[in-house]
Symmetry: C2
Subunit: 599 residues, 2 copies
């Protein structure tokens, strides 16, 4: 096996050209067998095998700089830079990050998981090279799906006047996560069909040199094209066409389905849809949301669902997108536009419901602040996956969302504790027209509470002003357990009432705060009068989060406040329960803290 | 005078075409005389007089929707929609917002002050129109300078597949705030020179219909062009060339200088450079920064200054930009790119120093989190104007920056109290290579402290770990006064030590915390042992800010914590001292709170 003998890119360069088809085939097989076992980004990785081999034959990494956009397509790159065993040895499958990671290899320049960054990073590295009088190639590899993000445009726009050598490879497989959306994709299609000769050319319009390569899955052809560009003295775009899922028929036939899958059977091509959380075993909030929104859309033509290239997180599978028709819009990877577009929709009387991963809400901070909140427009944002039980890659941590939202004026962020409360909040958010509302969809699985009942007519009063729900009145200590961590609050009350160590039982007050960025000051005043300790539990980062607001409000009183959340940091591929334990969030640790504070 | 008789757009439509040159001349005169008195955005407003008149003659606002990008160019629009008196009557000069404001008029659809939003807003309004079966025109007016922002690209990209009527007017005056930067501007220039016929066409490359109008200062010509587009059934871009400062020679001759000025003399064309703060009477942090960075650049070719279209905030006037040469880069209005570009520079060993207004840091939240902080790269960001004494337009509030940064891992935010400490922090930030550093430049004027002394060799130890500077050790109450509010802390200590009402004197401890997003836990532990009350003072929003971190950390102790800052909200054109008073931040109110907490 050739791949086993590749310990560095030099070994790739030393191979005979005649051996390369075999190498590519081995890489492809390794992608399939490792991903079949642990899941992964199938389509994009199969598509860039030949491109990656050619990159490492033409350029001399790490002296030459290879920058991968999103970097979910770097399995072949990892195999060729000393990490092949992680894709060949079943015991090591899944041992590497799914993204480039400087901690793993000097060939990985950045921790990257978000789109559209590579052109700007390449501009920066090329500029530094020139300032410091160095001499190497800077190469960015960006997928067509990443080009719709505004940052990529800003990068291309600045690249055009950089006046020095940078090579940007646009790897065009014709797909984003789902279908591509936006005018740029019509242009890429024109360019593909005309073999790069169409008169309209986005890249040339910005003043960039442009080259076209029809078959990016022909290693020799890619190698020739790259050789022509090596050591170029100005910015150039090489538009390379590849096939998403190349070489594996099921993935070629269903590009959306095979973008990212869980374990699968190679022979039959059946896969598990990737679970976003260990807890979503059966019912998912995605499905609950899709079903409910479709019903709301049918009853009201003003309701419009919006996604930024991830329709599945809000349950909008292809059949549901078809059913929604013009009432569902995927704007592609363009979170800023998605939020500002929602602001425009709300201003003109529609009822936009935008579904975002918490981590990608970060890409639209100013649009939230300036377009939505300053204008106080009644758009609804569903904040998915925001939990320590969500995605655990450092690039995709989704539990910074409350800190992000906490200072946004006019915004109401509601944190439901169960599916019934979620639907009540969602309905209220859609029906009201006084402000932007975020509903923080629990990211730790669906809890159903059949006892939960809100009279639909009472909804307006329920969520119109910040009001806590005191679920149980006890004494001494009050547990304020926000949203997805309400069940942790219940467990904590149980543990306090029946201590394992036989200590004195405590009858703790249990509160469902419901409002994640605003305080119910009257309720806090009441609690402060009748309790000595207040505990806040939140499924998110501690700094700038919700609990700190409670601590600040109660700061002038004699009440002791204990805030629990995750300290800021970039933990990577962690076990959520271990992370909570490291942050003092076990029942044992919290009960001990409470007893100490009371004594 | 015609203008006095215009109370609504209908009056504009009722005018004889022959009267329009006079109307335009009156508008131009009103712009000049009101701005000469109170300052304003001169160049852009003079440039769009004819365009604005034509818009209100062809379209029927507010039924038809006019959306202005940035909206600093809407003086004529305001005059034609019932607000002319504010530009004609000297007593009412400056009484209106400098931006569109729905609170002022139904003709102002959004509160807008940031760039690049109009295309996305227009997409949203058009989509809502279609969903609801309505029938009106949606028109966005976007300046060429705003097109470099990625959000505008996302908007154009989505506009191309919207499949319904939207008119986007690209008002091309050839200037951003300073010179335009980016490949798109070469294309706009080509299109201007070829009267819209150049083969490379950015808008057409996205699949958009495109029209060109050479003289946008010819009202009749604009009117004819708009009439052709009214009720169009698909998205179209009208590229209109106007002259920034049109009709006023000084502004035509110096577009950058006259972008936004303070009061000026119309005859001689001499103006005050706009003061960003009431306190910056003589020495400014802009000038201090420009001078210091130029010196650092001369000594080290790795140091590179970066601006996103506002070089003047960091003191990079044209002569300093010329002196810096390739070591200063203006990337245009592209904050996301600016941050990610800085990350690339730092990764390759350069020493980027990026100057941003605090409010525009918001546009790059994810780039801060993902590109800079996750990769822990040693770029320096200078955070300007972040103070309640900064710009007071609701659109430009710059005191949310600490809440924004508070949860960003790896980031060190330093808050200097005087010019000497600022330069020490700036030097340390540039020289270190362990992490991204923000220096929060005081936005309330330059304080010099000649006694401040840090041995340059001791700098590494000073700022390498969060360490508070206990300036005075007292008892009972500790005042932690952050950065620009350190002088408030000094005044507070004085007030406590010599009470005006003859009450008991308090010898308060005074602390310069220096670290705005991290805690010195050992110092807080010490303070908690020896004080009964801890006070935090910060020049920023309370929710999610720095003081709440202190309150959370001390929550489990018996110390009372009083946090002072501004409650989240969008105050508009406020008096800073009044705003502080409303938030309980007068010496009288705070001393009373402290005495109550001690009693």
């Amino acid at each position: 096996m050739l791949l086993e003998r590749i310990s560095s890119p030099q070994d790739v360069r030393d191979l005979d050209a005649a051996d390369l088809p075999l190498l590519c085939s081995e890489i492809r097989q390794a992608i399939l067998s490792s991903s079949a076992s642990v899941g992964g980004h199938i389509g994009s990785n199969l598509g860039v095998v030949e491109l990656t081999v050619a990159l490492h034959r033409v350029f001399d990494s790490p002296t030459d700089k290879l920058i991968f956009d999103v970097s979910h397509q770097t399995y072949a790159h990892k195999m060729l830079t000393g990490r092949a065993a992680n894709y060949l040895d079943a015991e090591r499958f899944g041992g590497l990050s799914g993204f480039t990671s400087p901690a793993e290899s000097e060939h990985d320049l950045f921790s990257v998981g978000h789109t559209s960054t590579s052109v700007s990073l390449a501009c920066g590295m090329a500029k530094a090279r020139d300032l410091m009088g160095a001499d190497y190639n800077v190469v960015a590899v960006i997928g067509d799906g990443s080009i719709s993000g505004g940052l990529a445009f800003e990068g291309f726009d600045n690249l055009a006047e950089l006046g020095t050598g940078v090579i940007v490879i646009v790897n065009d497989n014709g797909w984003s996560i789902a279908e591509n959306h936006g005018g740029i994709y019509r242009n890429l299609a024109e360019l593909r069909e005309s073999e790069g000769t169409a008169p309209n050319n986005f890249f040339r319009s910005l003043g960039l040199d442009y080259r076209f390569l029809a078959n990016g899955n022909d290693e020799a052809a890619v190698e020739r094209a790259l050789l022509e560009l090596r050591d170029i003295d100005h910015p150039v775009v090489l538009h390379v066409c590849t096939v998403k899922g190349s070489g594996y028929e099921p993935a070629e036939d269903d590009a959306e389905g095979w973008h990212h899958v869980g374990p699968f059977d190679i022979e039959s091509g059946t896969y598990e849809a990737l679970r976003r959380s260990r807890c979503e075993k059966s019912e998912t909030y995605a499905d609950i949301t899709g079903r409910h929104l479709l019903m709301r859309m049918a009853a009201d033509e003003r309701v419009v669902g919006i996604s930024a290239a991830t329709p599945y997180i809000m349950g909008f599978t292809k059949p549901r997108r078809d059913a929604a028709g013009s009432q569902f819009v995927d704007v592609g990877i363009a979170e800023e536009h998605a939020v500002t577009y929602a602001a425009g929709l709300a201003r003109a009387g529609a009822k936009p419901v935008l579904g975002l991963y918490g981590v990608f809400m970060q890409r639209a901070y100013d649009q939230l602040w300036h377009d939505l909140c300053l204008n106080n427009l009644p758009a609804v944002i569903l904040d998915f996956g925001s939990s320590v039980y969500g995605t655990s890659d450092a690039t995709h941590l989704s539990f910074f969302d409350l800190a992000l939202q906490g200072a946004l004026p006019n915004l109401r962020c509601l944190a439901p504790t169960c599916r019934e409360e979620y639907l009540a909040m969602l309905d209220w958010a859609i029906d009201q027209d006084s402000r932007p509302v975020v509903v923080r969809v629990p990211g730790n699985g669906v809890v159903s509470n059949p006892d939960f009942a809100l009279d639909p007519k009472a909804l307006a009063a329920e969520f119109a002003l910040p009001r806590y729900d005191v679920v149980h009145e006890g004494s001494d200590v009050a547990i304020l357990a926000l949203g997805s961590f309400f069940s942790l609050g219940e467990s904590l009350c149980d543990a306090l009432s029946a201590p394992a160590d036989g200590g004195p039982a405590l009858d703790a007050t249990l509160v469902n705060p419901r409002f994640a960025t605003e305080l119910d000051e009257a309720a806090l005043d009441d609690l402060a009068r009748s309790h000595r300790v207040v505990v806040t539990l939140e499924d998110g980062v501690l700094e700038g989060g919700w609990g700190e607001k409670v601590a600040r409000y109660l700061g002038p009183t004699s009440v002791r406040v204990l805030c629990y959340g995750v300290r800021k940091g970039f933990p990577d591929r962690f076990d959520a329960d271990e992370l909570l334990a490291e942050n003092g969030m076990t029942l044992e640790a919290i009960t001990a803290d409470i007893r100490a504070a009371l004594s």
